[in-house]
């Protein structure tokens, strides 16, 4: 037993020794390790979650564009301001809050707050909400008069609302956001009671004030059409791709190996039947059938894994079968049979270990195929809609305006991520082949 283990260990060691000498193999390995780290430590690489939206304006450019592209020199970053105190009681003096804004004009902004009025004696009272620019111009965004108690009201002001444009005296083509935030400096957001408010015992209450000015530059890679962070999607997409690639490759190679060994070793009718089935499977166009089956069975990640594996085992089966056919004629198999080894015993202890090197390489080479297949499915809109994948990023980029806005920074990263990961696995697979199966060296 000890002796046996020692032999295996030296086998692994000598494999590693030979592997270390192959630069491409090492590059591949390092890339894969980096991806694995990104997948594991995703939450530490980004402060957001891939589902968080409205982090910035739609299709915002990467933040570093500011330092590279003159057009973005002073582009706004997202500014979100909430009042420090949770609740304000306004008697007669206005409440104001200073907003520092040092960028060029944004495209939109929104303001939300809750307000209610306590008016014990029925008396006319009102207030307005306004923004004062550094130059001292005032824009009244909202106002209301009360003559009695009111329930809590949630006020939402959006710069794209027609009502607001009318209130500010703008035409529908003018933009309140760029008009109001046209200069840099200290703005103030003011809630001001109307004159005469203090004469009554009316009280106005304001809470949950939040001013949101979505930025036009954001994060490492900008945002998508929902204002969701692209870097976050890319980082979390690594997880999905690795999981799908690895599990589909393992499943299909396991199935392929089992079928290949059984066919090759047993031969006869079973072999004939299964090999014809392999031919049939190989003749089916994979992507159309995956699209159809995916739509029918439901678009979950595990369905995709199973479907991708279901149409990827055939080549392994063929390879293993031919290898088994030649192994079957070898003396040591004869010896095992003669000493009474059962078929299952021979297949699992004598044939399986001997086909493993071949299988191992083809498994590594199947990973990029599985990753690409999943990416294609997601790109076409047939992936799991609940998770951020690279294919889905590209789907969104195509469907939601990356082209018309020329947002190449939305289109390029997911593809590069797929490419480098696939290349890494190809390098590793080829290196393993070079070591174990020199005959297959030149093949991709």
């Amino acid at each position: 037993m000890n002796k046996y283990q020692l032999r295996v260990e030296t086998g692994v060691m000598s494999f590693w020794k030979r592997y270390k000498g192959k630069p491409l193999g090492m590059i591949g390995l390092i890339i894969v390790i980096i991806y694995v780290f990104i997948a594991i430590f995703a939450p530490f690489l980004t402060p957001y979650s891939p589902k968080q939206i409205l982090l910035a304006d739609r299709i915002a450019a990467p933040l570093w564009f500011r330092y590279v592209i003159p057009k973005y020199n002073n582009a706004p970053q997202t500014v979100t301001i909430g009042f420090d105190s949770p609740l304000y009681e306004i008697k007669d003096m206005p409440v104001s809050h200073i907003i520092e804004y040092n960028y060029s004009a944004p495209k939109t902004f929104s303001l939300t707050f809750d307000c209610w009025v306590n008016a014990p004696f029925h008396s006319e009272a009102g207030f307005e909400c306004l923004i004062k620019t550094p130059e001292g111009r005032e824009y009244s965004l909202w106002g209301k008069s009360y003559s009695s108690d009111s329930d809590k009201q949630v006020v939402r002001i959006d710069s794209r609302d027609l009502g607001l444009k009318q209130r500010l005296g703008l035409t529908i083509f003018e933009d309140p956001a760029s008009k109001i935030f046209s200069s840099r400096g200290d703005y103030s957001l003011i809630f001001r009671p109307n004159p005469g408010f203090g004469d009554t015992s009316t009280r106005l209450y304001i809470s949950n004030v939040k001013l949101h000015i979505p930025g036009l530059v954001h994060g490492i890679l900008g945002t998508d059409h929902m204002g969701s962070d692209l870097w976050t999607q890319l980082v979390y997409g690594t997880r999905i791709s690795l999981v799908i690639g690895l599990s589909a490759a393992v499943i299909s190679v396991a199935v392929g190996t089992a079928i290949g060994i059984i066919c090759g070793y047993l031969g006869g009718v079973i072999d004939e039947f299964i090999m014809r089935a392999v031919d049939v499977f190989l003749a089916i166009p994979v992507l159309p059938i995956l699209i159809i089956l995916g739509a029918i069975l439901g678009k979950s990640i595990w369905n995709i894994v199973i479907l991708v594996s279901a149409f990827a085992w055939m080549n392994t089966a063929r390879l293993v079968r031919s290898q088994t056919l030649s192994l079957r004629e070898r003396i040591f198999i004869e010896a095992a049979k003669a000493s009474g080894g059962s078929d299952i015993y021979i297949m699992s202890t004598h044939i399986l270990p001997n086909v493993l090197p071949l299988v191992f390489a083809s498994m590594v080479l199947l990973i990029p195929t599985a990753i690409l297949t999943e990416a294609s499915l997601s790109f076409l809109g047939f992936g799991d809609p609940r998770v951020a994948t690279w294919g889905r990023m590209l789907h969104n980029a195509r469907g939601f305006g990356a082209f018309t806005t020329l947002a190449w920074w939305w289109l390029v990263p997911p593809g590069l991520a797929i490419t480098f990961l696939s290349l890494a696995f190809v390098f590793i697979g080829n290196t393993i082949n070079e070591i174990f199966n020199p005959k297959y060296r030149e093949r991709l």
Binding site: I284, L394, R398, L411, V412
Partner: protein, 327 residues
Amino acid sequence: MVYSRYLLKRLIYALMVLFIIITFNFIIFRLIPGDATKMIIDPKFTSEAKAELKREFGLHEPTHVQYIKYVGNMIKFDLGISFSTGRFVINELKERLPNTMVLFLTSFVLTVVIGISIGVYTASKQGTFSDGFVTGAGLFTYAVPAFWIQLLLLMLFGYYIPILPVHGTISAPQPYGLFLQILDRVHHLILPAGSNVIVGFGSWALYTRNTMLEALDQDYIVTAKAKGLKENIILRHHALRSVLPPIITLVFGALPGVVSGAVITETIFSWHGVGKYLTDAIMMQDYPAAQGAFYLIALAVVVCNFAADIIYGFVDPRIRIGEGGKE
């Protein structure tokens, strides 16, 4: 004699595959969660009206009767009526098939011809540059998502430098005159077909080059060289001849994959073809349409595979003459 027996065998095999695909089609579209009739039958209908509609679509009969009728319909190309347009699926497919054929044939032929030519050329001119180029192109085909390259090319030539149309098969309105119309179609074809070639030629080049290099190592090539034959003649008449059969098998073996790629290409460039019809149909849960499109695609692959068998048997003398052929 041997060749015809071989052909018969392959024909029976092709028919078997077709039959399996029809059966498969029959089964999967009955796996749809819930009742397939839900799609077309409004739940508010009375039960008589529902039964009436079911009779119209033949859904009241026992499954095996439905199956036999289904196989018959498929053979007659009676693919049913589209849920979303109410037209015969076969008519809609007929409109789209020529577009798909044009795109498919142009890109596939160009890809294979360019790929094999580069492979043969670089095999004759060995050196670090040609080695690197072909290996790089092969890796490119294998590892880079084709649809991503197509998207990048679309953005570059459709939006940054808008010299090529970004979607569709023809301009609307079409230009006047046959010549301009053909030109217009070619203009629309450049991006989809060209991007397919860029994405696909690498693996052909690499495979051809590798098999050529193996062939050039053989003794009979050395003999030919010793006889003083010209490099060019050795390359074309001796080496290429011997590597052609495996390459031809590969060409036709690649068809299912190319068809898959065509579905994506058509979707990206909004090409008015069968592949886009399939994805659109599934998006709209138009099952008769999806079924019809898939049947047509699968049929095309089966036919191509059979054609491959015919040609393979013809090119490989072991099968044609029957000496130690595998069949």
